[in-house]
Symmetry: C2
Subunit: 191 residues, 2 copies
């Protein structure tokens, strides 16, 4: 009897949550199965190649969730500076609510695996490119030249990623909020 | 017979190299001992509390090495903008030379352990504060107001940390070099 398709999504969501919190190496297939509520057979049914395949799917799914959030906030704010400040505000709230446990849903996994796993690296690249594209398009809409918009968008994604590391270590969201404010000011000057 | 003091440094250096490349969870005590060349007994002699204690020592040692590098480059360049560009250039070279394997010596370990380990978090915080202080002092020397210098220095460290993640995933140092250039331009405008 094939596993129900809903189990695939549950497995990917469980894996993404565990990787985000504990990292890739520290998360076992048994942990993923237990958290997902899916029967063991469904894990091997959907992911015959095992943990690396689940990791790639988790990075792709989490990357798309973040991209959609960026796009939703962009539709609400309508301006690149307000977008990046609003995203930083939400990010600060999420990481604080998690007791400083949940970082970027893809960074820890990528840092652990990128060197040796081409598919994981491609999934990470697609995620970063998707987020950058939303911010770059907002900047271009505000009047920035295309290449400049891409440079500034990549800087903003880098600054938020780095600030999230500081925030988790400091157990204080100040670094994230400050990075959002500074990027918004830079966008206003150059956008 | 007590282990020679040199073994402590060899153990910490081996642990830092393995954590940087493979992460904390994926690195075993046997890997550390093998790479360090130290006898097994010395590991337990210097680190009776085991892996977490080695992890903290590795984060502190790697943090201090990076701080010293920032200070050396600052002494050579004498200006905050040139400092951050020169550091970004060296960082780009290191990560490329490692085949995109070596990231920040402390980030992966911190992301894996910060939520549950106060001592590791304190070690990480000391490292980030040390790097930030060198950059902030350079900015203040260039004329920036003290609080503003700290904000800009923390932004620069965040941007480089985040850009290093992008660079490893993209196997291209462009994100790091661009972050260095953008931060230098911001420093020149505000420093």
């Amino acid at each position: 009897m094939p596993a129900a398709p809903k189990h695939r999504a549950a497995i990917v969501a469980a894996a993404a949550a565990l990787f985000r919190r504990n990292g890739y190496a520290a998360t076992g297939l048994a942990d993923i199965t237990a958290r997902s509520g899916a029967p063991k057979g469904s894990l091997y049914h959907y992911f015959p190649a095992g943990k690396a395949q689940i990791g790639e799917a988790a990075v792709r799914a989490a990357g798309e969730t973040v991209r959609r959030t960026f796009a939703e906030i962009d539709a609400e704010t309508g301006n690149a500076g307000r977008l990046i400040r609003a995203y930083a505000g939400r990010l600060a709230g999420w990481v604080e609510q998690s007791g400083w446990r949940d970082g970027c849903p893809i960074t820890t996994v990528l840092l652990e695996t990128a060197a040796d796993d081409d598919r994981m690296r491609a999934a990470g690249r697609a995620a970063f490119d998707g987020w950058t594209a939303v911010v770059a398009e907002a900047l271009a809409r505000d009047g920035a030249e295309e290449a400049r918009a891409l440079t500034l968008a990549r800087l903003a994604i880098s600054a938020l990623e780095g600030a999230l590391i500081l925030a988790r270590v400091e157990q204080d969201a100040a670094a994230i909020l400050s990075a959002g404010d500074e990027m918004a000011a830079l966008f206003a000057r150059e956008g």
